[in-house]
Structures are given as C-alpha cells and as structure tokens.
C-alpha cells in the first residue's frame, strides 16, 4: 500500500503540533520580554524626560507590532489544534485544562488585544499617562498569558488536584492544587526569565550591529547598554532557576532527567556526561565524554548521590526519543553558558570603559542575537519530548490522545502548515530584519504616526509628510 510508506497519523499529528507550537513560541518568547522592555522605556521617558527613551520606544514598538501579530495568528491555531488533532485528550482533560485556557483568554488575550490598539495608535490621541497605562497593561497581559498557559502545561507534566471519573475523564477536585501544581512556579519563573533574556539578546544584537556602523549613535548605545545589564544580571540567575527546575524534575519525572543526562544505569556518584551518543537499542550512551561524580553533585548536591538510570523503568515508560532530549538539553545549556560569559565580559568592558568600541565583543553580541530563542526552543523540546510517551504524565498516553483523523487528512494539513508558515512568517521575519537594519534615529516615527491617527486631527502636521505606516523610509512614488 502506498500509505504504508508514510508515517502514521499519530506521528504526523505529533509532528504537526511540534511544528506549529515551536514556530508559535518564537513570537511570544520575544513578545513577552519586549512588552516589558517597552513599558520600561516609556516609563523612563516619562520619568527622565529624555527623548532617547521615546526614540527607542518608537523604534521597538514597530518591531513589537509585527511580532505580536504573528504571535496572535499562530496562537489561534494552537487553541484549535487541541480539538482538531487531540480530541481524545481534550475530551478527557477538558474539565481540568479548559478553564485554565479559558482564563487565559479572559484575563490576558482581551487585555493585550484591547490595549494594543491604544499602545500602537494612541500616542497623541490619549494622554501620556493613559498611554503608559496601556503599554503596562499589554505587558502585564503577556505575563498573565504566560501564567495560565504554563500552568496548563505544567499540569500535564505534574498533574495534581484531580480525580478520575468512571468514564476516564479527569475531574477537578482542588483548583488551587491544579493551577499551582508542583512544577508550575519554577517553570513559570524559568520561562519568563528566558523570554526576558531572549529580548535582551535581540535588543543587544541590534544595538551592537548599529554600534559597529556608527559608534556615536546614542540610541544604539543606550539599547546596547540596557541589554548588557540585563544579560549580566539575569543570565546567571537563569542558571540557578534551571538547576532548581532540574531538581524538581528529578523528583517527579526521573525518566526525563535520566534521558537528559544520558544515564542508563542507576548509580551512586554518577558522572556528568558532557557529550555522547545515546543509543536506544543498545541501551547505553556511546562515546561519552564524562566528568566523574559531577552528575550526582549537580542533581543531588552530593558527590555520592544516587541517580536512577533509564533501565530502571520499563521501555514503555521511557521517553520515546532519548537522543532528542539529550541533545536539546545540551544545546540549551550551551546557549545559556555563552550568555553568562557575554554578561561577564560586558561588565569587565564596561568597567574598563570600552563597552561601545570593542569590535570583537560587539560582533560576538550580534552573533548571540538568536541565542535566547535557541535556548528557549530547545529547552521546550527537552521538557516536551522528555514528557513522552505521555500527554498527561504517567496517566494518559500520547497514542490514546489523538483524534480519529485519517492519515491523508493529517498529511494534507501538515503540508499546508509547513508551506504557509514558511511563506508568511518567513516574510514577516524578513521584514523584522529590515526594521533591525534601520538605525534608531532621533525623532523616530512610531506606530502612532500611522494613518489611523489622522482621524484625531491633532497629529503634529510636520511629522505626517515623510512617514509611511511604521516605516521611516520615504514612500517610493507610484
């Protein structure tokens, strides 16, 4: 049969979810941090009255608008995909997870979408204080949104506060226990910190890029300086949060941690495997480069601590793709360590007074631009692939969660998603790079200088002539 050559409907549905959610999260990972950054910039402008902060606000708000739109439309897909492709999961977990997503919409999405219009188009139409409030509400909205969606995800990792009904449905017993399930608080902290770092590194890279071209650009200096302070302060903290989350995972999901570490045998004084090739058939990690006892020290905070290996668990309880978990984890950690190094070096250069004119460092910062996105993405792959073969950890299998949709249908939708995402978001991301390439200028035109504001009739006339929506380039004549 022709279809035998294709992956199963289940595998394609998994890949489709992985593809769409990975793509989606690139946008909020940047949006969450950027919203808070914009609130800080506007606050600094109102407080210090320095124009440079307003210029930076206007520069980044244009980026925010494009990025936010891409996050919204790719996010709507997610809210429907639970039903279209994971209907058995939805039927059983709906009573518990549904309200968390419902509250996300009610408390966050409406807030963000409602005040985004004011934030983008309202400067000049409402008072400065009210506009600042709108910016803050959008920023708070992004943080609340993260709260609910991470609570839902964490419940799937560490379910609690539920009972199971006679029909197999999960029934809520204690909402507090459901929302603040064991893995949630640290996951929230770790993820939000990750989005702040992601934003800092992108802002830093854009600032560095413009400093390489014109070291005297004050706005580029300010954004670069702010980004480096953030990186220096937060990257080391993120290491601590990550370590704490690892300890929790060891308690609740020892299989996942064993896969992350590449440990097959249970042992005391386990080594830290730096690199190696986890081999699922031979049940060992080949060609491994190890540091003795360090694994136990990190996970148990004890040289002789016992670490369970994968062989401790029956094969159908282990993550289905150990190398993916193992390597994703290493990529995340490597990106994180590079960020910490970047932060430390920035402090040293700042102390020496050469932060803005050390070319090799500026180039390094440009190269680190995507490192936050990389770390966040691979961190998620680690934790999600590590949750397999379950959707609700230990209770509901991925194979039992899928919709009764025929393989050709899933193949069609998957192909459509891939094509559309690459075209549309490819174009969107390309445009983001166009915005980045444009140096931040004095009297930057912002989103509010766009056509809709003219209905207000109070737009300062001189700024109208040259701008085009969001852009500061003159419009080519038709």
């Amino acid at each position: 049969m022709l279809w035998d050559a294709f992956p199963s409907a289940l595998d394609m549905a998994r890949f489709q979810f992985a593809f769409t959610v990975t793509f989606h999260f690139l946008f909020p990972a940047f949006t969450i941090g950027l919203a808070s950054y914009l609130a800080v910039l506007e606050g600094l402008w109102l407080w210090t009255k320095r124009e440079v902060y307003l210029d930076l606000f206007r520069y980044w708000v244009k980026v925010f608008a494009v990025n936010f739109a891409m996050g919204v439309v790719s996010g709507i897909v997610m809210s429907y995909q639970f039903g279209t492709n994971w209907s058995a999961f939805s039927d059983r977990t709906g009573p518990v997870l549904g309200p968390l997503l419902g509250y996300e919409v009610l408390t966050a999405f409406f807030l963000e979408a409602g005040f985004l219009g004011v934030m983008l188009f309202g400067l000049g139409r409402v008072g400065k204080g009210l506009h600042f409030l709108a910016t803050c509400l959008v920023a708070i909205g992004t943080l609340i949104s993260g709260f609910w969606i991470l609570s839902a995800n964490s419940w799937m990792q560490t379910p609690s506060g539920y009972s199971i009904g006679p029909d197999g449905r999960f029934l809520p017993e204690d909402w507090w226990a459901i929302i603040f399930n064991p893995s949630f608080p640290l996951r929230y902290l770790h993820t939000i910190t990750g989005t702040f770092l992601t934003t800092a590194l992108i802002v830093g890279a854009v600032g560095a890029w413009h400093l390489l071209r014109n070291g005297a650009n004050e706005r580029a200096r300010v954004m670069f300086s702010m980004a480096m302070w953030m990186t220096a302060a937060v990257a080391p903290a993120q290491l601590v949060f990550g370590d704490l989350q690892g300890l929790w995972a060891l308690h609740y999901q020892p299989q996942k941690v064993a896969a992350m570490e590449g440990h097959w045998e249970t042992q005391r004084g386990a080594p830290l495997i730096l690199f190696g090739m986890p081999d699922m058939e031979r049940e060992e990690t080949r060609m491994s480069l190890e540091i003795p006892r360090l694994g136990s020290l990190i996970l148990r905070h004890d040289w002789d601590g016992e670490i369970q290996g994968l062989k401790e668990f029956p094969p159908d309880q282990r993550p289905t793709n150990v190398p993916l978990v193992f390597w994703s984890f290493r990529i995340m950690v490597a990106a994180g360590l590079l960020m910490i190094a970047l932060g430390f070096v920035s402090l040293w250069l700042r102390w020496r007074g050469t932060l803005y004119r050390t070319d090799w460092f500026l180039r390094w910062a440009v190269g680190m631009g995507p490192s936050g996105l990389i770390a966040v993405t691979f961190g998620w792959i680690t934790t999600e692939a590590g949750r397999q073969p379950f959707t609700v950890y230990g209770l509901m299998r991925t194979a039992d969660s899928v919709s009764p949709i025929a393989a050709p249908a899933v193949a069609t939708s998957l192909a459509l998603f891939i094509v559309v995402y690459f075209i549309v978001f490819g174009a969107g991301i390309w445009y983001l790079f166009r915005l980045f390439r444009h140096p931040p200028e004095a009297h930057e035109t912002g989103a509010e200088a766009e056509p809709p504001i003219r209905t207000a009739g109070i737009t300062p006339a001189p700024s109208v002539g040259r701008d085009r929506r969001h852009g500061a380039h003159p419009e080519p004549a038709e």
């Binding site: 790719s74 996010g75 429907y80 209907s87 549904g98 409406f110 963000e112 979408a113 766009e450 056509p451």
Partner: protein, 355 residues
Amino acid sequence: MINETVAVIWALLIATGIFLYVCMDGFDLGVGILFPWLRDREDRDTAVNTVAPVWDGNETWLVLGGGGLFAVFPLAYAVILPALYMPLIVMLLALIFRGVAFEMRFRAETPKQRLWWDRAFSGGSMVATFCQGIALGALVQGIEVEERAYAGGWWDWVSGFSVLTGLALMAGYGLLGACWLIWKTEGALQDRGRELARWLGSLTLGFILVVSLVMPFLQPEFRARWFDFPAILLALPVPVLVVLLAWRFYRALDESEEAARKRPGPVPPRQVLWHDGVPFFCALGLFLLSYIGLGISMWPMIVPPEITIWEAAAPESTQVFILVGAAVLIPIILAYTGYVYWLFRGKVQAGQGYH
C-alpha cells in the same frame, strides 16, 4: 439541577461570544472581502485603517469560542473540531495570511509587493469566511458520533448545504464590511460602500431565504420547530422581523445618502454620525435574527443530532469555576473594548503624504 442551569447559562454565554465574534470579525473580514471592488489604493488604505486598531481584539472572540467550548463543553469541542477538520485548518491558515498581510501591506516596499499583500489580505478574508460558513453548515447538517468521538470521514463536511452557507456567510460579512465603511468613511469610498451594501443586502436576504427554506428539511426536529403548533408561535416572529428590518435597512441607506449629499464639507474628526451607522446596525440585526432562527432549530443540541448541551457539559465544578471569572471579567472586557472603539470613533480620513 444546578448543573443543568449552569450548562444553559454557559450555552447562552458561548452563543453570545460566538455572535460577538461574528459581529466584530464579520465586518473586518468583510472589509477584506470587498477589496476586489475597492480598486483605488488610497481607498484600500483607508478601509484597512478603519479596522486596524480593533481587529486583534475582534479575533480574540474566536479564541474565546474555542477556549470556552474546550472548558465548558469539552465533548462538543472534541467531536466538532475533528469533524470539521479541513474547513477549520484552512480557516486558521487563511486568518494567518490575513493577519500578517494586515501588518505587512503598509510596509511593502514596491507596488508589486503591496499587490501581493493585498491579495493575501483579501484572499485570506474570503477563504476564512467561506470556511466558517462551511463549518456552520456542516455542523447544522449533523455530525456522526460514536462513543464520545467523531465517527465520520474527513470529507463529510462537503455538501450542497455547507457550500450554500459558506457563500451566504461571504455575502453577509461583505454586507457588514460595506456598512462599516458607510459608517467610518466619507466621500467616494462611502458612496462605494453604499453601492456595495445595496446589492450585498439583496444577496444576503436571498441567502437567508434559501437557507431558511432548506433548514427544516435537514432534520425532522428542525421541521417540528418551525411548522408544528405551538412551537411556530415562538418561531414566527423571526421571519416577520427580518422583513421589517430589511425595509429599515434600505431606508437607512437612502437617508445616509441624502445626508452625505447635503453635507457641505468633510466631517470633523471624532464626530460620530449615528445616521451613517444605522445600516450597520440593521445588518447586525439581520445577523442576530438569523442566529436566533438557527438557535430555535438547534436547541438544545450542541452537536446535532446526537449530543445535547447537558450531555456535552463539563462537571459542575469546572463550569462554576470559570463562570465566576466570566461573570466578573466579561463586563470588564466589554467595557474596555467599548472604550477602545470610542477612542477610535468618527470618520477615518484618507491618509495624506502617500503619493
């Protein structure tokens, strides 16, 4: 008993949420549908600018529809979404095209690029609307269910009726878009909106008639609702009101045209001309009546012909937990949504400095 009442409250709330979505995203999708009839670039820019500050919020109601169904009627969510797999996926992709085109068409660097984003915006709006209509038709027509799961194939949604509802919704959203332009613009663009609203109004009314005639023959339960005594007493006012509203709609178009002719110059910024809004509200009224007609047919089914709202309902503690939040938050959301609409009130003038 409490649980049954809460389920009814939730059914009404979700129905209201979906209706609000249809009203609000209806006109901004409608603006996209009308693009082929708005050839002038400045008109297109102005038309898009009338919805730019609010479309994000409008689409959030769609997320509430999905999220709300998942939370309160998970069984319905788990049956309907797989049954409507293809139309829903295509709708989501079309909304992506449209949403990104929204941001991008103003940023195009050459006329050719802009043309492509215009096409993405317009095509995305049309396809998304058509798919929503198909989804509605396929749901009303009935979904095959076995043991809490969808039991049909992946092409079951295709039928003459679902294509009919798809086209009907395109006409309807187009009408909303045209009426929105009458309200929010002036001059030549407003004239164009009136012209479009006239024939889209006729088209929409024609579709309402045809769909209403076909509906009772889809399911015996529907027929009983519309033709048996005493149910007919409840149902009869609906078509009567449609006729009255249609008459009011065309009168409002005439009034708005006359007012525009008499107006000496441009409308001052932020001044709301309510008489220009009457056609829009009449069109919304037609949507509301059609929606109520649909509700009369379907009640209390959430997945016809098998699953009622009570069978699909989540346990009481789930429904109550989110009802508490909804009771507090939905009024707040409506308040600030209203505030944003008020902030961006009045006519949107054509942009200067474009050429």
